[in-house]
Amino acid sequence: MRHPGQLDVRIDSKIFRSADGAATQVLCGLGFTLSPGSFTCLIGPSGCGKTTTLRIVLGLDRDFAGKVTLSPPGLRMAAVFQEPRLLPWRTVEQNVRLALPPEEQGPGAAPDLDALFAVLGLKDLRARYPDELSVGLARRVALARAFAVMPDLLLLDEPFVSLDEHIADRLRHHLLQLWQARAATVLMVTHNVREAARLADRLLLLNGRPARLVGDVAVPVARAARGSEALGRFLDDLTREFPETVLA
């Protein structure tokens, strides 16, 4: 039995240098801990450093002051990037299978992906190449890839942007299912506050230049009741308390 990971993030400072040598501090004194199995959304206006934070957590950007600890070490990680980032020369199914950990690569050990492809509406597209797909379909393949890994820690960067609302809703539902079945720790970046409030246990609000945490709010509405007015009231309160972050 695997256990979801705990993630400790402490970013004291992240500085970008432009080509002409000018330094801009984009993140400052940003710290949070994600408890195992929690679902957290990172919210903030576009360009405030959400994606940079995610890249630091993913280990793709090591040029920062601070420390990111994932415990226990050696956990399975998966990410859904803003763009699908599929290998254009591999089929949909190969793209998903290539991301699986080595112990699940062998023909006998490979997990059955039928159910996953069926839920995401990709059943008939397994043998297609990514360039033959629409952007929305390619995004679904990227989600399938992340879900297939059955990660302990799942990081998503605006995964439902540019999908039509009906499909986005289905994928959100599937994300929640996966999160519950797997007990994964999830961190999702979004600027859609309604989406965040519907999915997450906890909202981290990021704003300012350099960006810092301006709010850390637990969503007080039970998941079963999130279709109702209770969620609306919570969103109203949130907007009153953090107008600059939520309305941006």
Binding site: L60, A78, A79, R85, L98, Y129
Partner: protein, 261 residues
């Protein structure tokens, strides 16, 4: 699609017509020149059938082809490895760049002569000399390829913990393939020409040696016969190996199916 189908139907006769036209022009020139040193196509064909009948032709073609293959594989392998490393590490690029420029501009003849002097009149020297002539071209092409690698896909592979082998096979090589193909295409043509010089200078078999022999006998029909025979071999490699391989490796590109048809 109708337009490209029509073009496809015309392709073969047009190509055949072009070859026939070339042969006709050649025959006419031979008749007009009316000299022993300008043989017509039929004399060359006559030489080729005689040479093929006693096995000489295939023996020398095979020897030359083996040298081309060996030099080609060595040059592509080393050139790709060095080129990719230079494309990925800027310091190494700066360090080795003057060497590459030096090698690119060193005349093929100098490299061949030096290899024969230093290594000896051996097969190894011959193949090394040819490979050394080709390696810098491969390095320059593959360096561009490695610079063009998509960092977003590399990051994806890093997050999903691709092993080195999986990264190479599924992420890096497919991106390098157009550059490898370009280097290989130009390389094959260059290499067989250099192999002939190497054979002429220091080997006792192969197409280059035969051409040298018939040059001393002033037998132009034989010289043209061997040259054309080897061109035919290279054409066969292009149509039977290179082009089908390219179609297969490009199958993921949109519209690849219609281009292949």
């Amino acid at each position: 699609m109708a337009g490209s189908d029509a073009a496809g139907a015309f392709r073969l006769p047009l190509r055949l017509l072009s070859i026939l036209g070339f042969l006709a022009l050649w025959a006419l020139a031979a008749v007009l020149a009316d000299r022993a040193e300008v043989p017509g196509p039929l004399e060359v064909l006559d030489f080729l059938t005689r040479e093929a009948a006693d096995g000489q032709l295939f023996y020398h073609l095979a020897i030359t082809l083996a040298r081309v293959a060996a030099a080609f594989l060595i040059a592509m392998f080393i050139g790709t490895a060095v080129g990719v490393m230079m494309g990925q590490h800027r310091r190494l690029d700066r360090l080795l760049d003057p060497w590459v420029i030096l090698m690119l501009n060193l005349p093929a003849l100098v490299v061949i002569v030096l290899c024969y002097i230093w290594i000896g009149l051996t097969e190894a020297a011959a193949v090394t000399a040819v490979a050394l002539n080709k390696i810098p071209n491969v390095v320059v092409t593959l360096r561009e390829g490695a610079k063009a690698l998509d960092p977003r896909l590399m990051e994806m592979a890093q997050v999903f913990r691709f092993s080195r082998l999986r990264l190479l096979r599924h992420v890096i090589l497919p991106q390098l393939f157009p550059f490898i193909a370009a280097a290989g295409r130009s390389g094959l043509a260059l290499i067989w020409k250099i192999v002939l010089v190497v054979e002429l200078l220091g080997r006792s078999n192969g197409v280059g040696f035969q051409i040298h022999l018939y040059f001393q006998l002033f037998d132009v029909a034989a010289i043209l016969g061997y040259a054309l025979a080897f061109v035919c071999v290279m054409l066969c490699i292009e149509y039977i190996v290179v082009q089908p391989l390219e179609t297969h490796l490009n199958r993921w590109r949109p519209g690849a199916a219609s281009r292949a048809a």
